[in-house]
């Protein structure tokens, strides 16, 4: 099967610090890939590199066969949550997502509402995002990532701030999305999330990646 994402010997340095140290990884469609590692191990930079926010100093990243930074600047069809999901604090959850959806005009209001419902929020809720709890913002972040039905999801600590039920809901949602054919990359501190969800697990340490199982 052709690889959806191909990371080939990628190196990234910020000043003297090597944050990605000859990282190679192949991602095939329809699986969930887990990446574990301590803070500062390079997970977030790896995700940002796949999205094209950070370009490698050496090596290359191919998404759907196109090299990031050369053939394509930001690969399309990727849903992301990287670090903390940020929203416009004076707008409701639905308004925030609608403003983002209007950038591509690919989906209807109904689809946005459906995504909000899927993560357990109320799309008719007029509450401003500035008043949301961390867990609600995280849920909205996930709704934002999935609303345009991307075939790749990149989720950096998606369970942050979620309560026990929220974590279970999200696990179910991610498994459902996988069954629908979405390829998912998840980074998490929690080994249990990774254990339950992922088909392949990698560990990052000081910028280097190794396969766990």
């Amino acid at each position: 099967m052709e690889n959806l994402i191909e990371i080939q010997d990628v190196v990234k340095r910020f000043g003297e610090q090597t944050v990605l140290d000859h990282v190679s990884l192949s991602v095939t469609p329809g699986k969930i890939y887990g990446i574990i590692g301590r803070n500062g191990s390079g997970k977030t930079v790896l995700f940002k590199s796949i999205c094209g926010f950070v370009l490698p100093d050496a090596g290359k990243i191919l998404v759907r066969g196109k090299q990031v930074g050369k053939d394509v600047d930001i690969p399309q069809g990727i849903g992301i949550i990287i670090e903390h999901p940020g929203f416009l604090r004076d707008y409701s959850g639905f308004q925030n997502l609608k403003l983002l959806a209007r950038l591509q005009k690919k989906i209807t209001d109904e689809k946005i509402k459906e995504s909000i419902r899927l993560v357990g929020l109320d799309p008719e809720d007029k509450k401003k995002v500035g008043k949301f709890s961390l867990g609600m913002r995280q849920r909205l972040g996930i709704a934002q990532a999935i609303m345009e039905s991307p075939d790749i999801l990149i989720l950096d600590e998606p369970m942050n701030g979620l309560d026990k039920h929220g974590v279970e809901d999200m696990r179910k949602l991610l498994v459902q999305l996988k069954e629908e054919g979405t390829t998912i990359l998840v980074a998490s501190h929690n080994p249990l999330d990774i254990e339950i969800l992922c088909d392949e697990v990698y560990e990052m340490d000081a910028g280097a990646i190794t396969k766990v199982h």
Partner: protein, 273 residues
């Protein structure tokens, strides 16, 4: 591109920084026009809403208002957690083009506000007319009267609307120029780099008047915003030079920013919330 630009404006509502900038302009203009307001009250005449044409002729006003410009754009290239969601949908080039468009549009709004405040703070002494009106003519005849500098030559040679529009246009151009300098500086160095360069340039511009070296006005964008820019006098910097240099710097910095945008590391520098 326009949607990416509008996204930045939506953050103004919850930005203390932007609120402080706009409030400072209002407060400073209120203080600065106090004498004019008092004078109009004493002589019992209304002031026409065209003081804005001369607003930047005062060195302190220029400096403070352009510090405001730097404060507006100090977080360029405006990357935060929320922008990641925008960026992943627009791509780099459209996103960067949107940020540049934002700098122009934000200057249009900022200087519209500075113009508006010159009228707001004169209420209830404002009277609308297509002419300069008695108070401004009196002040122009007696330069420095009521604590404000107004040039007789401008009042004689230009209609108030024309003078206000030229002043507005020149300020938007210089604001855009400084905004782009902040943007490029922040991209090339750390986040503070662009602001430091722009503040240095503003202070240098003001020092020209302090040390009385008018010839250096050719290097001082702040002086290109005053009525001196279109005052037909021998020692004034020619308007053609001002426009040519402003447009050239804007185009060159814009071009470099777009070129650098292809490889620039897009990292959130502040929280979107």
């Amino acid at each position: 591109m326009l949607r990416s630009m509008c996204n930045n404006f939506r953050k103004w509502k919850s930005s203390y920084r932007v609120f402080i900038v706009f409030l400072s302009v209002l407060v400073f203009t209120f203080i600065r026009e106090d004498y004019l307001r008092q004078y109009a009250q004493d002589v019992g005449l209304a002031v026409t809403p065209y003081f804005f044409a001369f607003q930047m002729d005062d060195g302190i006003t220029r400096m403070l208002f352009y510090f405001g410009v730097v404060l507006l754009f100090c977080n360029a290239p405006f990357m935060d957690d929320q922008q990641m969601f925008v960026l992943v949908r627009t791509g780099r080039l459209r996103w960067f083009a949107g940020q540049l468009a934002y700098i122009v549009a934000a200057n249009l709004v900022y200087f519209l506000w500075t113009a508006l405040t010159t009228v707001l703070v004169l209420i209830p002494q404002v009277g609308f007319s297509t002419d300069w009106g008695g108070i401004i003519r009196m002040c122009a005849e007696n330069n420095g009267l009521a604590g404000v500098v107004m040039h007789k030559e401008i009042v004689e040679a230009y209609t108030p609307l024309a003078a206000c529009l030229i002043t507005y246009g020149l300020n938007v151009l210089v604001g855009t120029l400084l905004g782009l300098v902040v943007f490029l500086g922040n991209m090339l160095g750390s986040r503070i780099y662009g602001s430091a360069v722009a503040i240095g340039w503003i202070v240098f511009s003001n020092m020209i008047d302090v040390v009385r070296l008018p010839k250096l006005r050719v290097l001082s964008p702040l002086h290109w915003t005053t009525t001196y820019a279109y005052l037909r006098s021998d020692d004034a910097v020619p308007l053609w030079y001002i426009l040519a240099v402003e447009i050239a710097i804007i185009l060159v910095t814009g071009f470099i920013i777009m070129k650098k945008s292809k490889t620039y590391t897009l990292d959130a520098i502040e929280s979107g919330l």
